[in-house]
Subunit: 357 residues, 2 copies
Amino acid sequence: MNATNLYEFTRRVFLAIGCPEAEAAQAATVLVQADLRGVDSHGVARLAGYVRLYDNGRLNPAPQVRVVHETPSTAVVDGDRGLGLVVGPKAMQLAIEKARVAGTGWVAVRNSNHFGIAGYHTMLALEHDMIGMAMTNAAPLVAPTFSLQKMLGTNPIAVAVPALTEPPFVADFATTAVAYGKLEILQRKGEAAPLGWAQGPDGGPTNDANAVRNGGALLPLGSDREHGSHKGYALGSIVDIFSGVLSGANYGPWVPPFATAGFMAAQEGVGEGTGHFFGAMRVDAFRPAEEFKLHMDKWIQAFRQARAVEGRQVLIPGDPEREMEQLRGAEGIPLIEPVQQSLRELAERFGIDYPTT
Amino acid sequence: MNATNLYEFTRRVFLAIGCPEAEAAQAATVLVQADLRGVDSHGVARLAGYVRLYDNGRLNPAPQVRVVHETPSTAVVDGDRGLGLVVGPKAMQLAIEKARVAGTGWVAVRNSNHFGIAGYHTMLALEHDMIGMAMTNAAPLVAPTFSLQKMLGTNPIAVAVPALTEPPFVADFATTAVAYGKLEILQRKGEAAPLGWAQGPDGGPTNDANAVRNGGALLPLGSDREHGSHKGYALGSIVDIFSGVLSGANYGPWVPPFATAGFMAAQEGVGEGTGHFFGAMRVDAFRPAEEFKLHMDKWIQAFRQARAVEGRQVLIPGDPEREMEQLRGAEGIPLIEPVQQSLRELAERFGIDYPTT
């Protein structure tokens, strides 16, 4: 589907549930950006989920997002149960403003919901010659090393760094061996999963693509103790502590599920909603921006030109997503049938035309 | 060996190469702390290496460490070719001072050398009710995903978070599947390495514990593409960019080798020495410190009590090192024969008594 048509449709759905004009546009931008960049699991495939959050009374479509505490370089933002897709960019903007004055800005967010792709938020910093950072906690799917219980979400980290003539460095990754969406693809196909993606109910290795729903758990980056799963567990924990404990949101096993994941039940809360953490660092708070960006070009070129495995090239974080964005911007966004079906249902419910192209 | 005796010996070696009193004590503290915490690869095993750095003219034993640029929440420090063991704590102290005023402090360091265990530096923040962060780049041992060339060091990340009645959360880990020291142990024993630790000269899987010296490379956390090596590569890159590019140090393939690793040859430089990056965040820049620490207790207790694999317990980052510190503080530090030999040679060279216990 044409990206502009998909954006317009998505925007109208957010308007239909009561989002103000600017916020509906912002939310639609973040979602369609995910589809454009090839992160299909975080795009319009989740639109019906956000609407279900609204139906369940967990989403405030017109939140009063407010700063509840601040210092020159920090703030805590209460998202008032708003869309993370809207609360996120507001908090990132505040981090950027703090950085303008104090050199860096760090904003912890509580009482929010799923914020879409972390990379989107970090990239807002780039035009200001700042490094952007974003992370979020999420409902528990992941077992720490030696645990049988799911205690952490996929807790992604994103970092965007500006360059001069090269495109920016944009890393955006879950702190797990694999994104849960990759297991969902195998579930739909009825195929087995590689060892090292999930553990079974006994904590042992499994090929079962359904293991996470059947008493097992997703594995931290590193997969097993011998290959450093305790490092992935530590990373996911850091994201959880920065996003949840610093902000006053829920954390660990208490993070509430995103609407679509009905098999995850939230325990009694220890804070408010989901938590995020954003950072912005002015590069000229360290060295002249032009000089920094020139060295980033040199860094990027050195890595891209490294001798590679036959038939492969060393990629810079952000390369695959940027190429996908160019391709899908030109040729449109492919939507699998279940996603189209969910969008058609929303079209019917809200009386919005479903785009034909 | 008794930790106090080992400390005193180490301190006298640093004095012998010309370190001022306070700096010799600081450097010895960091090294012996590594041995106490069980990170043998970063303790006095490296003392002869630091002396060799001095012999080679790469180490300034009495550096003028200075701030070359700053904003309210940031600074760049030039280490004047000093010991990272000394420059590191100074830079961390500056980050703490910045945080006291601005809420957070972020200090990038150039023109330094190996700074010992990253965790030591982060833990300096704890007594101030701050979260401490430290990272450093290092000479290239690691191949990015699809690369045949070593482009990154083991580039560790450490984060320390204070709790109330629980001991602090202290994560400290290389962004690789395994520490290089673990391969060195297998090399000494003549044993094979598990798949997923290193790659061979063709970029393929290998059991060769000597692969890194023989045209292969250490693998990023995640081990292979299917298990998320591109995430470990991105993490190691972020550490390199923050430590090297922000500070004006060398980065990527240009980071100079630590003295003991003669098989790694530095290319022509793109900056000055090795780079580090430190951060301190006042927890009460986000929420009242007591409240934050109470929730950290709750976080730690929830994770420690998670249902675990038969015969195991879920550990909190920092648990194993703290237990080792108690044990070795009481029973002494075991030193393998090659390390004892290197210390005896230093004792002879500098006319220092080698401790008998």
